[in-house]
Assembly symmetry: D2
Homo-oligomer: 351 residues x 4
Amino acid sequence: MTAQQSSPAQSAAPQDIRVGVIGVGRMGADHVERIARRTKGARVSVVSDYLRETAEKVSATAPGSRVVDTWQEVVAAEDVDAVLIASPGQFHREQVLACIAAGKPVLCEKPLAMNPSDAYDVVLAEREAGHPVVSLGFMRRFDAGYGELKDALEAGDLGTPLLLNCKHRNADVLPGFTDTHMVYDSAVHEIDAISFFLEEPAVSVQTVMPRSTEKAPEGLHDPLLFLFRTASGTVVTDELWVSTDAGYEVRTELVGSLGAATIGQESGLVTTQQADGRWGGTVPADFRPRFAAAYDAEVQAWIAAVADGSNVAPRSATAWDGYVAAAMCEAAEQSLTADGPVEVTLLEQPA
Amino acid sequence: MTAQQSSPAQSAAPQDIRVGVIGVGRMGADHVERIARRTKGARVSVVSDYLRETAEKVSATAPGSRVVDTWQEVVAAEDVDAVLIASPGQFHREQVLACIAAGKPVLCEKPLAMNPSDAYDVVLAEREAGHPVVSLGFMRRFDAGYGELKDALEAGDLGTPLLLNCKHRNADVLPGFTDTHMVYDSAVHEIDAISFFLEEPAVSVQTVMPRSTEKAPEGLHDPLLFLFRTASGTVVTDELWVSTDAGYEVRTELVGSLGAATIGQESGLVTTQQADGRWGGTVPADFRPRFAAAYDAEVQAWIAAVADGSNVAPRSATAWDGYVAAAMCEAAEQSLTADGPVEVTLLEQPA
Amino acid sequence: MTAQQSSPAQSAAPQDIRVGVIGVGRMGADHVERIARRTKGARVSVVSDYLRETAEKVSATAPGSRVVDTWQEVVAAEDVDAVLIASPGQFHREQVLACIAAGKPVLCEKPLAMNPSDAYDVVLAEREAGHPVVSLGFMRRFDAGYGELKDALEAGDLGTPLLLNCKHRNADVLPGFTDTHMVYDSAVHEIDAISFFLEEPAVSVQTVMPRSTEKAPEGLHDPLLFLFRTASGTVVTDELWVSTDAGYEVRTELVGSLGAATIGQESGLVTTQQADGRWGGTVPADFRPRFAAAYDAEVQAWIAAVADGSNVAPRSATAWDGYVAAAMCEAAEQSLTADGPVEVTLLEQPA
Amino acid sequence: MTAQQSSPAQSAAPQDIRVGVIGVGRMGADHVERIARRTKGARVSVVSDYLRETAEKVSATAPGSRVVDTWQEVVAAEDVDAVLIASPGQFHREQVLACIAAGKPVLCEKPLAMNPSDAYDVVLAEREAGHPVVSLGFMRRFDAGYGELKDALEAGDLGTPLLLNCKHRNADVLPGFTDTHMVYDSAVHEIDAISFFLEEPAVSVQTVMPRSTEKAPEGLHDPLLFLFRTASGTVVTDELWVSTDAGYEVRTELVGSLGAATIGQESGLVTTQQADGRWGGTVPADFRPRFAAAYDAEVQAWIAAVADGSNVAPRSATAWDGYVAAAMCEAAEQSLTADGPVEVTLLEQPA
């Protein structure tokens, strides 16, 4: 490279952020592929997984990366500027705390921790560190539709939020998926949407159980309806239906005192087909067509924040959002068997 | 960087493709920003513009880049692996030929040349070079909707194409925009869509001139309608209306023997607003909301093709497509004042 | 008329059903106009109102009709074959009972009576009469969209109903409109939709009160959400918002085990307007554009049923539906101030 | 009936308009059923058909009607106040002239006559009669969507019409349907739409023939495209495709200098079906779901006009519209084999 020599006045090309990835199962491998192929200004430098073989395989897809034996080595590595955590949820608390201790920015997939108390530990630790370190992987915040609705709310176009209606549909779930998974794997996204759109957590949650579809696996009521209420009185209905067999759909309507707004309506190619005399389009099989761009945007925004030293991107979920989600999920889980609304209690947010 | 040292078995992180950019007016500056901020695996290394000051300003936004005085220096620079041309159209032929001579992959904004004969020169030169070098910047080929329609055609879902209806609307155009600009700046995109979707060029073109809106600038009939016919008999209607004052819209319907398919229907945030008692959404002000992702995808695909040595991305427009577009535009321009259809004649496509 | 003379084998032209209308305020006057102008096979013969002057005025718009002093005279009149009741609700029970006693088919606007017990009296009286006499004016059952959804359910296309989501929006309400009016004037329509679509009444109802819009009149929580549950476990969410300032909207989604179906999406003229750079349509100011055809169809179907002696049209609401609605409304009203779900109890349906 | 006796001051109930129907094949039988069952203020009194047996069968469905042997008897019958003509087109001219001579209002199905000259005879005859007698059955003028677009144009919301894009699709046609039928049976509706929306006839027409679908019957190019131009320069594209196998669709976009407006977009029940993972709706099998209400409204408006003595309803097609359509169809038919546009020439419109 002769560029710097021939034009010494120019600043050097910026170095890529070197990302260490902990846990490279399906989600983590996706992130490795994303960083290696599509995320500008970053590269995967170190990878670990509790299955060494998996780590080797995934590392081979990210030229320039190497494998280490333990997540601790990822956090400690000199050639790791920032850490992405995609390990199973029970390890998140400890791993994020280690990143905070090492002063390394971290993007942690949900959940932040397995219970509100553990999540709060992270909030306090980050606070003691004195600067933002933790981003939490609620990728919908980076979806174009979510962004448009957030913009409209911030611009005041919709007035005061009165109701938020969420619908969340999946083609199917794995056997063994229970009501509890419905809370922590599915409803958790709308739970974070409450924080994102309404900028206040729920103070109570109630479960409403309709009759279940015959296709629901053992141990799952499907569909389920959660009702949340915020301190200022906005009500959120969250309808979850995860064995539709049709495909993946997420729709959201915000009812505000000055107008209502909807995102997630179907679009794309609309055909009128001779075969069946119907007009319309295809429901995507899973979340990827709907949220693939959101994942890309999330990681790109995180890298930009790491590069500029802010560490946490605008509109990203923070450790505090992770704590709030944990507290709301816990209450939602309790509401599954409760009679009537369950209160959500939150510890104080550190200044 | 210690990664390579600690894990010598791993391949090194791939080097960024170093891109030289010729012409950094609005379009070129956009590309510099795209490559510097969003294109994975590439960086801007050298920049030139006929206004040195513009080149300096734009280069300053791309760390690690330097400015040279002439486009010839860009093509020749050792630290330029691939060239992006966004200069005025009259220079394209010569600049692309220089890239071919230098054996450097080039992504040239439309047009490939100012007339069919000049464009054909490029086709022949590339053919003599013996391998693909030239990509042409018809970015719509990388739009998600265009891709879905192309997929449906390739899958045979729509049968034989019978009709292609295109609508192209702009909020407004600059003063001095004439019927000829309508051909070369606006219709040219649908002209390339014919090659893209139908995989054959038009054999004739006819202009239909409706009464003009009172808002059309002097020298412009607006709206205009072009009718193309391909050798196999598919008819294309291309309706152009560039002073709608409403916003930017591009809609396409393909009528095939087994079904019809539409892209470009409005979507996004749908609101019901108290202020005016209307439901609906916003028409974007210009082409960016509609095609920003297509530009990103186009440049990313080009970089990937350069990196893997194929040089031209799948579905990208080639030099031949550029020649065909030039020939069809020339005929369309003639049709503006002709009585009835004008024939499109093409030289032979080199094997 | 010489037709009968010249073709004695032909049956005579059928005589119009002579309709007596009780109560000709806004709703009753609409019905008089409907019968006089658009309902085939019927004419208004007798009219009464507690304001004689109103009766005179409205009668003058229906050539061939005459005014009487009391509703009793309407029921008793020899030139009244069938009775339409559009008087205030508190008179309905007595008037319908009189029609049953007189053996005259009656179409009564909602409610059937002011409380479940009074409504049940009507059910029993009709049962003793031994044949159907009473139709209740839930006109949505005759809306094309409602009919399509009912057809889809009956055809089994949607499988088992799991959830029914209703949204009901008004531009505004009169001052003095309270939560109780919300139950009896607005929610009552979705309450009947439960009977219509699900073919079973609710067994419980719960009110959810979001924060109220600043535009709600004194004494009204707006929006309000009712949750109903049927015996077989289908859950119905009914969101009511009656001071939107935007217009009238009724949307319904039925979530069934084999698919989901929506009615009430906006359609009609879609414009892209230069003035505001928006695409979309107009929300109708009130219920008429949405349900005018349903009213016409309802009355026409009723007249056809009277003419053929069945008295109650297929899919029409019956006295029993009126009783069920009364019981569900009473429970909904109680739920406004209750803590948690309120049980709906129903007396036995006569065989 | 005692009403008149007990209330002598009241005007008598209006007598039904007695309609004689000439030709009761499929279309005529539909009209008989419409008048007998749904048209307020009218009844079918006399029926004729060239097949006596058909006339008997249809008459039996309209109580009070009788059969006569010839159409001349229908026109002459004392118990016929108005005539509806649904016989084959070659008889229309003579039958309408007879109605004019008899001074009886007539609603004649399209065409008014088999050629422009014959149609002009009717225009002149009506003019000599000195008052309106003739309505022509272009029922789309009574479609709600057509009405909304007409309203928007009259209100000036769309500015000056620049382009009118029409699409007309059928599931299939009978064997023997040729290009000429395409003009006179299909395109004729859009030809009248030109008169209706633009309020001026075309001055020229050009046929554009795309490659034909393999499903087109012998002798038919399908799809076909007609281009019309009006005197003031508005261009109309009329795309016809009558063997889609999918269903019946009619869509219209008016491009005006202040905005564009579309009618005929799909609506109705929208389902997301598990069976095929698609969202959307059903394309109706034929024109009835789309235009059934338009036929009803057309006949009802005609009866109202007959009853009030105006004879021709507002917005109805007149004899002049029928002449214009005949002239435009003749030119369109010539354009099928012409090279370039064919001029439409019109005789003078009588004052």
